[in-house]
Structures are given as C-alpha cells and as structure tokens.
C-alpha cells in the first residue's frame, strides 16, 4: 500500500563502521534529493542516532563559532560532529556541555575530502541531549543488534546473485567483502557492557 513519504530512519552504527562509510550517493538527480552515505555492511544512511561519551568540545571556527564535538563509543572509536550557525541548538549544546558526559545525538552523516585525498566522515547534528547511562547502555545493545542484522544479511548474500539487495551489492563493490572489523566492534561493545555489569555486581 502507498504510504505518505516519511522521514528517514536513523541508522544505529558504531563509530568504526560509520567512519569507514566514505561513499556517498543520491537516489535522484533532484538538487534537493537526500544524500546518503553507504554503510560498509550494506545499508544506506541519511540520518543516524548515536549515544556515547562526549569527551571533548572545541570551537574550531575562524570567523564565527563552529563547534567540534568528539563522542566516543564503547570500543573507544570516535564520532566527530560539527555544528555552526545553521545548527544553533546543537552548537549551543556543544558550547555549554562539560565533558565527559553521555550524549544522545541525532544527525546527518557528512563527508569531507582532505587535501591528502582521504575522506572524513562526520555527523552534522540536528539535536544533542545529555542522557543517563541506562540510555547509553540501551543504545549500545541496539546498535549491536542492528549491526549484527546487517552483517548477517551481508554475509548471507551472494554478490553474483542478480536479486541481491542493492545496498549490499553496492557495499561489496565500494568497500569489498570484509565486514569482520564491524563484527569485532559489535563483540567489543557487548563485552564492555558485560565488564560494567560484572564490576557493578562486585
């Protein structure tokens, strides 16, 4: 059945995979068509939701304020976010928050090519809010679950199969067949949860 066009789902992804998602594309020629980054496990992302530890904020702007925030996931990998005058709410959160703090961030993936030709992936936040540890823990498990689902789908697909999911096929083509680092980030994130559970049980 036809449904009204809805907003894009926010993907759950750990920083290691997110930072590798350097390939971007559009689904139509329209100037205002959404830009997607392609996650290496074969999913397009136009929005992400992440919860982690804000470890550092810095105004890196020259003429006007331009705030950089570093948010670290349980594996110690970092999401970079940038908010300036067009993201006033997020910018003021980055200005006011005192690291370290757990933050929940909704935002758009953005890529930037450096002078050396590397592609950096960052988040342009739509909103940043300070949250508690329980919310962080829930996100970690959720991101692990979603990532594992993507890995299983990726591994279960045959790149030669003409009916393969188009984003899985695209990921094979753009990034190759190795998704093992992302499985390791799932294991690492979940193990860190076990450690905290054991520590608090002692």
């Amino acid at each position: 059945m036809a449904t009204t066009p809805t907003r894009e789902v926010a993907q759950r992804v750990f920083a290691r995979e997110f930072n590798d998602a350097s390939y971007t594309f559009k689904e139509s020629d329209d100037d205002r068509a959404p830009v997607y980054v392609l996650l290496p496990t074969g999913q397009r992302a136009n929005r992400v939701f992440l919860v982690g530890t804000l470890t550092e904020t810095e105004d890196v702007g020259e003429d006007s304020e331009y705030w950089q925030g570093r948010v670290v996931d349980p594996n110690g990998d970092t999401f970079f976010m940038y908010a300036g005058q067009y993201q006033p709410d997020a910018a003021s959160m980055l200005r006011e928050l005192e690291p370290p703090a757990y933050v929940a961030v909704v935002g758009k993936p953005r890529t930037y090519e450096t002078d050396e030709g590397d592609v950096n992936v960052s988040v342009r936040p739509e909103s940043i809010s300070q949250v508690d540890e329980a919310t962080r823990d829930r996100w970690v498990v959720e991101a692990a679950e979603r990532t594992l689902d993507r890995i299983r789908r990726f591994n279960g697909a045959d790149p030669e199969d003409p009916d393969i999911d188009e984003y899985v096929a695209m990921a094979h083509e753009e990034y190759g067949d190795d998704v093992e680092p992302y499985r390791q980030s799932v294991v690492g994130a979940l193990e860190s949860m076990e450690d905290t559970a054991e520590a608090s049980a002692d």
Partner: protein, 313 residues
C-alpha cells in the same frame, strides 16, 4: 492466527497461482505458518511476502495475478492507510448509524482483530442489508480518507458474503517503542482557538478558520519515535505531556511568563526527553499514534544472548 485462517489464506494464494505455477497448498501454508507463528509477522504481511516469493519464482508481476482472492489484497483494518485502494476485508459490523442522506443506504463501523473503520454503503449500489453483530467477507471495497481518518466504501462491484465464524473486534491501540529523535514545531505550550468545537492550534494568534482570537493555552508534544527500522509520529496531549516531562500547564504558563516567550517550554521539554527511549501505547489517528500510556525504557538490557550470536558468526 488459527490454523484454519492460515489454511484459508493458503488456499486463496494457491488459487491465485493456479495455471501459472504448480504449487502445493501445504507448502504455501507452511511458509505462512513460519512467518506468522515463528516470526510473528502479521497475516496480511505474511501473505504479501509469500505471494511475492511465488511471483518471483514464476517471473510474474503482481498485476498478472489471477483473481483467486478477488484480485485485491485482503487487508487488516488497521493497515488501511491510503485512499482509493481496492481491498478485501473480513470484518464484523460493530454499529450501524442513521444515514443522513438518501444516497446512503447504510453507514456504520466495521471491526476486525486489528481495529475499526467507518463504512458507507451507497443506495444506488443495490447491495444486501448488513446486520449489526454479523461478520462478513467484503470483497472489492474502496478506501477513502477524510481529514486523516480512513473509511471504506461499498460499491456496485462489492461482493458480500456472510461468514460462519465471528470475527473478533480488537481495539485499534498500537504499541510503539523507540528513541525519541525529534520534537516537531507546534509542541510545548500552544494556544488553541476557543470557538465551539474548533480547537485549532493558533499560528501567531490567528485561527485559520476564525481569524484573530483570544487563544486558550494547552500543552502538546508532537514527537518522533525511531527504532532504527521504522519511524512513528506520536502526539502527547496535555496529560501525557505532563506525565512525560513533569511540566504541568500552570508551570508551563509561568515559565513562558517569566521568559516573555512560549518557546522556552518546548526547549525545556526537549532537554528532558530527546534522545531517550520510550514505549508508547495508544490509538492511531492518520499517521499519528495518540499516546494513552507512555513509559521511559530505563531497565537494563541483556547483552549476553547477543554476544553469543556475535561471537558465533
């Protein structure tokens, strides 16, 4: 979903493909059973999925499908979400209302396990009388929408068949879970038009119907829940908003008065609830879920099982 229902679906699918594909009813039923009972997929979606599988196998398009099920998709009433779709429904007549126009033969409410929907039967369609409390299979009805509410219209081509079984009528409440990823404009402390039965939200002190009016304060949140696979728009009314944010209407008015600005209320609410996980239960209205009950999900989540899975890949 009972086994006889699955069997009926399986037989209809089998009939749709007869002549195109040599399929076994038991095989169809088994596939449906797996989806419905193992994966907890709604029957309509399971049916769709199984039909698609066979379409792929036969290299056919959906349009080419035989008329075994009337050619339409049999839908759950709660899944009606677009106007002008031709669908089949199986439902009980919950209520009959008095028709207000001669053109209308019968009007009332249909219900199935998933919810209820208004129906209209035109006089000129010359269809048999529906009776309150009786369950029917209605084939070839057309969906319609008015101000976000959906209905179905019976027409000349509709076939009505009384069912032996009684279709139970469920509430149209749904439960959604996810992270609150957005609070939309028009949230927080708002003003509504005070005219009788208007209640429209004012924009800059103006009602789109009654012009400039002295508005009445109200609290509301239009939020977006996102579980990583689906987004759902949720409306919290005054009571739900207070429960969610701890901010009552009087307090919100004071906050706005102190700041000489109503937007401080929504800002404060954002800081309290954005980025947290919630479970919300309530009826659907158009594309919205109207929150009856809401709860922040704060309990510990079990990572063990997932870790075993992750290690075993």
């Amino acid at each position: 979903m009972s086994e006889t229902d699955l069997r009926t679906h399986a037989e209809e699918i089998h009939e749709q493909f007869s002549g195109q594909l040599d399929i076994d009813v038991d095989d169809v039923e088994e596939r449906l059973d797996t989806l419905v009972n193992e994966y907890k997929v709604p029957a309509s979606e399971a049916r769709r999925s199984v039909v698609n599988t066979y379409l792929d196998e036969a290299g056919m398009d959906r349009d080419q499908l035989g008329g075994g099920g009337g050619g339409n998709e049999q839908v759950d009433l709660a899944d009606v979400d677009a106007p002008e779709e031709w669908v089949d429904v199986r439902a009980t007549v919950v209520e009959l209302w008095d028709p207000r126009a001669d053109a209308v033969a019968q009007v009332g409410l249909l219900g199935d396990e998933t919810g209820t929907i208004k129906f209209t039967k035109w006089s000129k369609s010359d269809l048999p009388e529906l009776e309150e409390g009786t369950s029917y299979s209605l084939r070839n009805v057309v969906t319609d929408e008015y101000q976000g509410r959906f209905s179905v219209k019976l027409n000349r081509t509709t076939t009505i068949e009384e069912l032996d079984e009684q279709i139970e009528v469920g509430s149209d409440s749904v439960e959604v879970e996810g992270a609150l990823v957005d609070i939309q404009s028009g949230s927080g402390l708002i003003k509504r038009c005070p005219e009788d039965e208007c209640t429209r939200v004012l924009q800059n002190g103006r009602c789109s119907e009654h012009g400039e009016v002295e508005g009445e304060f109200d609290l509301r949140i239009k939020g977006v829940l996102d579980d990583g696979e689906e987004v759902t728009e949720v409306i919290f009314d005054e009571e739900a908003t207070e429960e969610l944010t701890g901010i009552a209407l009087e307090e919100a008015k004071e906050m706005a008065m102190d700041a000489l600005d109503t937007t401080v209320v929504a800002d404060e609410m954002r800081a309290d609830i954005l980025g947290r996980y919630y479970s919300v239960t309530g009826p659907t209205f158009g594309r919205y879920v109207l929150a009856d009950e809401q709860e922040q999900l704060t309990g510990t989540v079990d990572a063990d099982e997932l870790l075993i899975k992750a290690r075993s890949i």
